[in-house]
């Protein structure tokens, strides 16, 4: 039926997910790691943030399963596939994707945003939307009522799903639902935020034996499910966030942007990590001219203002891509290559900070007894770096990974504005903001694409920031001292 398409970024994303799963299994067997992750799991705020992140990741993953649909077969001809590359998310949202209007329309509107001359009248009027509110027919008097009904129906649906989830979980753990939801029964067990620590709460039904804070997860899921319910119920008949210049549904665009943000946030760090770890450890452990050379390298790179280096590199990459159109079979592939190149460039310009941190930490570790014992036993240099230094640096690497994520998501929007971001055809928060910005001068204002992009970005970045804080507090030995 369909022809699966594996873009490079998809492959990398799946490799990343596989690596994370493998690491989880590995970490479960390590006492120190299990203790640190246990602290994260006990932190209510972190678990709530992780829930939001998980929803974003799920959407991003759905959007990474790409395929090309099969064209209607002609008798006798071999199967042919559409040029357009779609994703599983597109298939789920095919309603939203296909119901495009002519141009701007406000959220929940039934008419276009701009006046147009109608065929059989001399006046310019607001034409009806093709899809938004089309089910109402000619009678618009119950427009508000219809929306209210849909909102309550969506809420009811969301609530129902939530209750099902809660009761399923309670049955599995063998706790009464009432116990689980009782207000005040649970205080965050141990909040590891410096400055304000809560007393350790007694064991309560909201916690599993290991102390995982599960209640915040369900409390976060409730609003998310309600919003999903409303979006599905109202989105069935209207454009929840309106439509953009070419009439595309803004909700659809926002959901599609999530993948781009996630990719930039994760792949960039992934790309730079091997380099940063290798050079940082080498500089710290080997010392001598190797140290001098590596220090010179990262001082030089970090002395160039980040935006300018990125801009210069992206401009050059653009020339390379434009002068070699034969490298890419479809436009999706070209956009994907540009996205990956952007990740690579961002990674190349940002590895210096991590490398410097790792070098400093290696210098300290090198003098410790266990390393000297290994040296005395005649363990080789590279074996020491791999087996004794590297595991003791992993917390820095992990902290850098989670702390960088939110900054990179925000940077994408700025870079796209400057004109050195993702390909203009790639749907991202940056391109959404950039196209919406042009319309700010209009009267009345076209505010909905901007509002949608900013709120989605805010939710993603806030969740990432909160989660990163919890991870840092749990893993940074200084913070827990």
């Amino acid at each position: 039926m369909i022809q699966p398409v594996l873009l490079w970024s998809d492959a990398l994303l799946f490799v990343l997910i596989a690596a994370i799963v493998a690491l989880v299994f590995w970490a479960r067997r390590q006492d120190a790691l299990r203790a640190a992750w246990g602290r994260v799991l006990k932190d209510g705020m972190a678990m709530a943030a992780a829930t939001v992140l998980a929803v974003f990741v799920l959407i991003g993953l759905l959007d990474s399963l790409h395929y090309r649909a099969r064209l209607p077969a002609q008798p006798g001809a071999a199967a042919r596939y559409a040029v357009e590359v779609l994703s599983a998310l597109d298939a789920l949202l095919s309603d939203l994707r296909q119901r495009s209007e002519k141009t701007y329309s406000a959220p929940l509107a039934t008419h276009l945003f701009a006046r147009e001359a109608l065929e059989n009248s001399t006046q310019r009027e607001f034409p009806r939307l093709k899809h938004g509110g089309a089910h109402l027919g000619a009678d618009l008097s119950n427009h508000e009522f219809d929306i209210a009904v849909r909102v309550s129906r969506g809420c009811a649906g969301g609530l129902l799903v939530w209750l099902l989830l809660v009761s399923a979980w309670c049955r599995w753990r063998g706790v009464a639902v009432v116990e689980m939801l009782k207000v005040g029964a649970c205080r965050p067990a141990v909040s590891t935020h410096p400055g304000f620590r809560f007393a350790a709460g007694e064991r309560n039904p909201q916690q599993t034996e290991s102390g995982t804070a599960i209640r915040p997860v369900f409390l976060t899921l409730l609003p998310i499910l309600l919003l999903f319910g409303i979006a599905i119920a109202v989105g069935g008949g209207y454009h929840v966030f309106g439509t953009d210049k070419v009439g595309q549904d803004v909700l659809y665009l926002s959901l599609k942007s999530i993948r781009t943000g996630l990719l930039i946030g994760t792949l960039t760090t992934l790309v730079m990590l091997p380099l940063a770890v290798l050079l940082g450890i080498l500089a710290g452990y080997v010392g001598g001219w190797v140290d001098d050379l590596i220090q010179y390298l990262y001082t030089t790179l970090s002395s160039i203002p980040g935006v300018l280096l990125i801009a210069a590199a992206v401009l050059m990459m653009q020339v390379v891509i434009d002068t070699h159109p034969e490298w890419f079979a479809t436009s999706a592939e070209r956009a994907d290559a540009r996205l990956l190149a952007l990740c690579l460039i961002l990674g190349m310009t940002s590895w210096t900070g991590v490398a410097r941190l790792l070098r400093g930490e290696t210098l300290k570790l090198r003098e410790l007894e266990f390393v000297q014992a290994a040296q005395a036993f005649g363990v080789g240099r590279f074996a020491i770096m791999r087996r004794h230094i590297l595991p003791n640096l992993m917390h820095i690497v992990l902290i850098a990974l989670v702390m960088d994520f939110s900054g990179l998501v925000l940077a994408e929007a700025v870079l796209s504005y400057v004109g050195v971001g993702v390909d203009p055809t790639t749907i991202s928060f940056g391109t959404m903001i950039n196209t919406a910005r042009m319309e700010l001068a209009r009267e009345p204002m076209v505010w909905w694409s901007l509002a949608a992009a900013f709120s989605f970005m805010f939710a993603l970045v806030l969740a990432a920031n909160l989660f990163a804080d919890a991870v840092r507090d749990a893993f940074d030995p200084r913070a827990s001292a």
Partner: protein, 325 residues
């Protein structure tokens, strides 16, 4: 100390040479001048003559590093590397694509950039430090917790939102100041005030949180306990002891950005239509004016290295125990 400064300045030379070679490689080796010409003139239907003309006009028609056709020392000087990259060390940045002298343009645009960047920097520093001290004074209370939550929330908002939202609210709804533009003299105030306020608000979340961590780390030291044991009020402990001792980590992050203030802020300047270096750079990026981008990269790294040196010198001022050798 003078010997130290001179040695540091000498260290800067290999780094600047590295920056120069890197940008040279980026701009001329990854893509040949022919590629750039084709890009500028439009990829399709470009005659070889047009490319040659474009290159000759801009001085890109010379060999990259070694001109075997020239005589004597000109073998090295009559090249792109020398004329475009090495000349930057003496402040000769060449001409932009529109034919204007880049060095002169930079001099003209420095003023407006500083008019925005300096007040934003000073005010932002002051507000963030006072806010952080306030949070530390009320540490582990509801005020502290809500302050930190507010900071994290403010950090999570895109910088573009502050600019777009602020412009819309203040200029469009309230009609307090013009949306964008700039003028010299005292008239500049009405154009400068909004970007400065937005810059301060946009940066406050991250910096307050950072200063708060520094202060909290400092407050758990022994000398603070001694000061309290002497019976000093908390206010005096914070301002006289903690603030002073926290200066070293604060200076590390702050002084290094002072020289880069010259560069201006890319986003603010282009949104508010301020004719500074930031908007110059953005325009150059959009117009793919490589000569300007290359010059700004070079200037940026010179300023950054200057900032590192200033940071070291500022340590000696903040902490008399620090000696530079």
């Amino acid at each position: 100390m003078l010997a130290y400064i001179i040695r540091r300045l000498l260290y800067a030379i290999p780094i600047l040479i590295g920056v120069n070679l890197l940008t040279f490689a980026l701009f001329f080796v990854v893509n040949t001048p022919d590629d750039m010409a084709r890009m500028q003139l439009g990829v399709k239907r470009v005659t070889p003559e047009a490319i040659e003309k474009w290159k000759a006009e801009r001085g890109y028609d010379r060999p990259l590093v070694w001109n075997s056709a020239a005589a004597g020392g000109a073998k090295l000087t009559e090249t792109i590397l020398f004329s475009k990259s090495v000349r930057m060390f003496v402040g000769d940045f060449g001409r932009a694509d529109d034919g204007r002298d880049i060095a002169r343009e930079i001099g003209d645009r420095m003023g407006p950039s500083l008019a925005i960047a300096v007040p934003t920097f000073v005010l932002g520093l002051f507000v963030a430090i006072s806010f952080a001290l306030l949070l530390v004074f009320f540490r582990a209370t509801a005020l502290d917790i809500s302050g930190v939550v507010l900071c994290v929330a403010m950090m999570s908002i895109s910088g573009l939102f502050y600019i777009i939202g602020g412009q819309w609210l203040v200029s469009k709804v309230w009609h307090l100041v013009p949306i964008s533009g700039y003028s010299g003299g005292f008239d500049a105030a009405k154009f400068v005030i909004l970007p400065v306020i937005i810059g301060v608000i946009g940066g406050i979340g991250a910096s307050t949180r950072w200063y708060r961590t520094i202060f909290l780390e400092e407050i758990s030291r022994d000398y603070v306990r001694t000061a309290r044991a002497k019976g000093l009020p908390e206010r005096v402990v914070l301002f006289r002891h903690v603030l002073r001792n926290a200066l070293i980590p604060i200076l590390t992050g702050v002084v290094v950005v002072i020289p880069t203030l010259f560069m201006g802020s890319l986003l603010t300047e282009s949104f508010f239509g301020i004719p500074g270096l930031g908007s110059y750079t953005i325009d150059a990026i959009n117009a793919q004016d490589f000569a300007v981008v290359r010059s700004m990269v070079f200037i940026g790294s010179v300023l950054y290295i200057l900032g590192l040196l200033l940071t070291d010198i500022s340590y000696t001022l903040a902490d008399p125990r620090v000696r530079l050798q």
